[in-house]
């Protein structure tokens, strides 16, 4: 049920097709196809959607070295690249841009495909006792 909701949202999100302005840098028409290079972002993009499963909303994204080429992006993708100058979660991006998570996932997926962003998914499952203990220490800092 959950998946169908998110999947349908992603299908209609701008990111499901091609977001205008989200094109990998250095792939202009005059350069022709760049075989071998395009497969890497495609693999990275698969990680964003996890074979149809949406990434957890708390997943963090960061910029890659390519992000400096992102000046020509549209407003929302460019803002996301700016936000990802430090690790930022999908849910924070949604808050900052005032857009639904499905839209964030779509644009982030395109930016990963374009090589601008890297996704750091949480390990999954319940947090371990050692993680909880460290969290407790962090919260107790005055």
């Amino acid at each position: 049920m959950l998946r169908s909701v998110w999947s349908s949202a992603i299908d209609h999100a701008p990111g499901s097709g091609t977001v205008r302005g989200v094109e990998p840098p250095g792939r202009g028409a005059h350069e022709g196809p760049r075989h071998g290079v395009a497969t890497l972002p495609a693999v990275a993009g698969a990680r964003v959607r996890r074979g149809g499963r949406a990434l957890p909303m708390e997943s963090l994204v960061t910029t890659t070295a390519r992000a400096r080429w992102g000046h020509g992006l549209d407003a929302d993708p460019r803002r996301i690249v700016e936000l990802a100058g430090r690790p930022v979660s999908l849910v924070e991006i949604g808050a900052a841009l005032a857009v639904p998570l499905a839209v964030v996932r779509g644009i982030v997926g395109d930016l990963v495909d374009g090589g601008f962003l890297e996704v750091h998914a949480p390990p999954g499952g319940c947090p371990s006792a050692s993680v909880l203990a460290r969290l407790l220490d962090g919260l107790r800092v005055p």
């Binding site: 049920m1 959950l2 909701v5 998110w6 349908s8 949202a9 299908d11 209609h12 999100a13 957890p56 909303m57 708390e58 997943s59 963090l60 960061t62 910029t63 890659t64 070295a65 992000a67 400096r68 100058g85 430090r86 690790p87 979660s89 849910v91 924070e92 949604g94 808050a95 900052a96 005032a98 857009v99 639904p100 998570l101 499905a102 839209v103 750091h120 949480p122 390990p123 999954g124 499952g125 319940c126 947090p127 371990s128 006792a129 993680v131 909880l132 203990a133 460290r134 969290l135 407790l136 220490d137 962090g138 919260l139 107790r140 800092v141």
Partner: protein
Amino acid sequence: MSPDHRLHEPVPTPLKVVVVGGAGVGTTTFVRAVSEFAPPSTDRYVTVAPVGDLPAGRATATTTAALEVARVGVGDSHVLYLLGMPAQGRSSMWDELARGAVGAVVLVDPLRIEISFAAVDFVESRDIPFVVAVNGFPGADRFRPADVHDALGLRGDVPVLPTDARVRGSCLATVIRLVEHALDRSVVVRFPPVAR
């Protein structure tokens, strides 16, 4: 700072705590209170904003219930998100919120305790650790935590504690109690939840 420099900073592991309750019991207040008085000079920086309020003219195929987000820096290795679930939120979003969560804070107004029944059902059915925070509405101090515990039909080990959702320190103390409870649960043998 150049992008290349940032590339080498360690990426923290995200953790999340869900804040749920019924309409008007203070989930938004709770999440925003954690953000409001953050000393900007420490790493305990916080952002807060609703997700899903669409600006006029922005077309979308779906709408998302407004989800309150607060970020709490807890050292270099982890970052904690407080996610406030709106009362009118869809159950599909509850599923996603619960997955991998540290646990949940269930806010209750003891004068309208039935408002929070659905939230208690939600966290019990997902078997995530939770605490019940009795928000300090006028008259709330007439109810003992044990009364609230009984009224909600909670399992014996679920903490019930008073909270003032307007006060950052009170909210953080509630979150700390939740993490302690989650830690207690993680070191004991877990049995499957009993079918009801």
